[in-house]
């Protein structure tokens, strides 16, 4: 027989359990009902609202970016010179006129050993393929790319001339070593997602990807990249 003192405790414990069950039931039912009872127009309205919010946040971001820019570019003369120099070197690196260093990916495209009769037409890589790879890499957030030591700049041409592929005017041959500076994981998954491995496997090429913490890609070594272009004078 239980002692008299325990009885209130037991009653309280049981009613606490009941109350808990009740509240949980109530809550989970309500949570479900809320998502169910929305029809498409309400969802659309919500979407509209969220998009509005998104736009507002974006304008906020650009506002703060502007502010940050002003902070980073003080009107003080000696400082502003330094800032300008830094900006210039950053732009040079991005534009391919300076060496770039950082974490990234080395992609090697090489021939897989293959029987002679399988070779020929099917086993060549065209400029299209390389352009596609480069494009995807830039799309995946690459900051700089070089192929066999030739930096890819905004005006670099990759094209077939005869049976060879030329970058600008330099011939590049297999194996292609593509060095990419960027987030190695993102770059690698972008390559895998696009199915380049399978794609190149069809033409008997193998892609080897190596993630590195430090990659140096050279500067663009060509001259006269910009010949027919001049900055516009303000007010002219």
């Amino acid at each position: 027989m239980k002692s008299k003192k325990q009885i209130p405790l037991i009653i309280i414990a049981i009613s606490v359990i009941i109350g808990f069950m009740l509240a949980v039931q109530f809550k989970s039912y309500n949570a479900h009902a809320k998502t169910d009872s929305k029809d498409i127009s309400q969802i659309r309205q919500d979407l509209q609202k969220e998009m509005e919010r998104h736009r507002r946040i974006l304008t906020d971001i650009s506002k703060y970016d502007q502010l940050l820019y002003e902070y980073e570019n003080p009107l003080n003369h000696s400082d502003s010179l330094k800032v300008m120099k830094e900006e210039l070197s950053r732009i040079k690196a991005l534009g391919g006129l300076a060496e770039m260093e950082g974490s990234g990916l080395i992609i090697t495209i090489q021939n897989t050993p293959v029987d002679e009769e399988d070779g020929g037409y099917l086993s060549t890589i065209f400029d299209d393929d390389l352009r596609y790879v480069v494009n995807e890499l830039f799309g995946a957030g690459a900051h700089g790319i070089s192929i066999n030591g030739n930096r890819v700049t905004p005006t670099t041409a990759i094209r077939n001339v005869g049976d060879e592929i030329q970058m600008d005017t330099k011939i590049i041959r297999l194996p292609y070593e593509i060095k990419v500076v960027g987030d190695p994981n993102v770059l690698e998954s972008a390559m895998k997602l696009r199915g380049f491995e399978e794609y190149f496997a069809i033409v008997n090429k193998k892609i080897i990807m190596k993630k590195l913490d430090k990659i140096v890609i050279p500067a663009y070594d060509g001259k006269g990249m910009i010949r027919y272009m001049k900055p516009v004078k303000e007010g002219s």
Binding site: K2, Q6, I7, P8, I10, I11, I12, A13, I14, S15, V16, I17, I18, G19, F20, M21, L22, A23, V24, Q25, F26, K27, S28, Y29, A31, H32
Partner: protein
């Protein structure tokens, strides 16, 4: 008399402040268990007012009724019969019976009139 109500309030508070939710497929079981538990607690109050309250009966009733109700619902799902209706019906009727008895007893006590008791 007030203990169950205090306990209920504490329990509801705990339930709302916790982040637990029940998956959709188990919700019918929980609802029927809640019904059984409610029935038990009203039965407990009634027996307390009638001075026949026994903690052993109360406790066993709570667990047994709750599990039986959930079990019936579970069985019903597998048999293709809405067996949980039986539980809802039984507990619903008992709930109202218990409430009616509690009401009569309370009214009798309030007016000091014994004719309200059965």
């Amino acid at each position: 008399m007030w203990l169950p109500i205090i306990g209920l309030i504490i329990g509801v508070f705990l339930g709302f402040s916790s982040e637990i939710t029940v998956p959709v497929e188990y919700r019918s079981y929980l609802s029927i268990a809640v019904l059984a538990a409610l029935d038990t607690i009203f039965g407990g109050i009634r027996s307390y007012l009638e001075n026949v309250f026994d903690i052993k009966v109360f406790m066993s009733g709570f667990f047994f009724n709750t599990l039986l109700a959930a079990g019936l619902a579970f069985l019903g799902v597998y048999m293709g019969i809405d067996l949980y209706l039986a539980a809802i019906f039984a507990f619903g009727v008992r709930l109202f019976n218990n409430l009616a008895v509690i009401r009569r007893i309370m009214i009798g006590r309030w007016f000091n009139d014994d004719t309200y008791r059965k």
